[in-house]
Symmetry: C2
Subunit: 225 residues, 2 copies
């Protein structure tokens, strides 16, 4: 199978999760993999640094090619294994355009989520401000509403329409994250329906973060968003 | 030509510049375009908001398809006009992997540059800290050194090797920006050589930011980096 591939990953990391979903969708099971613990700083270990000088996960290799950026790995794998497993880039130009647009907008959602969820981790104690926390939450709230609107308008169950695509691969982990952190399913019904409907998709189910399975109860950081 | 395309853009914005370079490389001249002024807040005008609800530039349309995310527009245009103009995604799997990896790493470079250059613009006065400024500059310095190293090692004049590709399209505007903001050509000789060698490439020359042509002298924010 995929014995010439190696993935070093961390549980719950959206970038790692994206790569795992694509590997499943493309029937590339059987790759070498190692689950590392962020809390033990294993992402700064020599094994990771040798593959990824930024000391981040995922660290991913196909043969001698290193693809640590999750978007890079996803597009590359779809391109190299086009006719294997599920097709993840639609042929229809309009659907393809929407797919790329949503895929890359997903970076903004992920960034705004991180600004809220990881605020205390990213900002040293003496530099924290309630005004910044408030602004970040407002920005995330506007962003999440934008995505709720996208799902109201799209003609199909997926982000780019009728087909599961790289847009879903890229954005689903972030959507799962905001619900893990307490986003209200009542206030965001379309996002909640999307989130719940894809939970059982085999590629997503099999790659569900093991730390979330061990501790099913999430946080409530976003419950009032 | 490209009469079914519309680009709303701002001078000097790396995302806008990327899309303009791709349009040139793919021989898609003749598109409808409008230069808007960030300083007059024209990126928040109704015309932009109708295409891009985040009120950001570029706002780009092909037919009815909206592609405001520059990476989305670049990959989409290359995919839709594969055999027209210059090929921007190499076929060789190893070169393609390197291209995607560098392309998406370019986001990190752009982000770390923005954290330094736009600090006062992004962070309200009461929330600014010298410690954050210092940390951001150190992070950018480490990042720029990483790219200097990449160019030392690559076998060819471009970021992914022998061919000009989407990696160059994506990252060149940021490299031009750091030099515009005073990065030392002496301390980063490989980056400087890359920057200077591509200045005369037709797609880059024709899309060079008009505000930079009007005022050739840049800033010195990064001169000690």
């Amino acid at each position: 199978m995929a014995k010439d591939m190696t993935l070093l990953w961390g549980s719950g990391s959206p970038p790692c999760w994206r790569v795992m979903v694509v590997l499943e969708e493309k029937n590339l099971q059987g790759y070498n993999q190692k689950l590392l613990a962020f809390e033990k700083m294993e992402h700064k270990s020599q094994q990771v640094m040798d593959m990824n000088p930024r000391g981040q996960l995922p660290a991913f290799k196909h043969g001698n090619s290193v693809l640590n950026e999750s978007y890079a790995a996803c597009i590359y794998l779809e391109s190299q294994f086009k006719s294997q497993g599920n097709k993840l880039i639609p042929d229809c130009p309009a659907e393809q355009a929407l797919m790329y647009q949503r895929m890359f907008e997903g970076n903004t959602l992920a960034q705004k989520m991180a600004d809220v969820i990881y605020y205390d981790w990213k900002v040293p104690e003496g530099e924290r401000h309630d005004s910044a926390v408030k602004r970040n939450r407002e920005a995330l709230s506007a962003e999440v509403k934008l995505w709720e609107g996208y799902l109201q308008k799209v003609s199909g169950p997926f982000l780019a329409g009728k087909n599961f695509s790289l847009a879903d691969v890229s954005v689903y982990p972030t959507i799962a994250y905001v619900f893990r952190y307490g986003l209200s399913e009542e206030r965001y019904p379309k996002l909640a329906a999307y989130y719940n409907s894809l939970k059982e998709r085999p590629s997503i189910k099999v790659s569900w973060p093991p730390t979330w399975l061990e501790k099913p109860q999430g946080e409530d950081t976003l419950k009032d968003l």
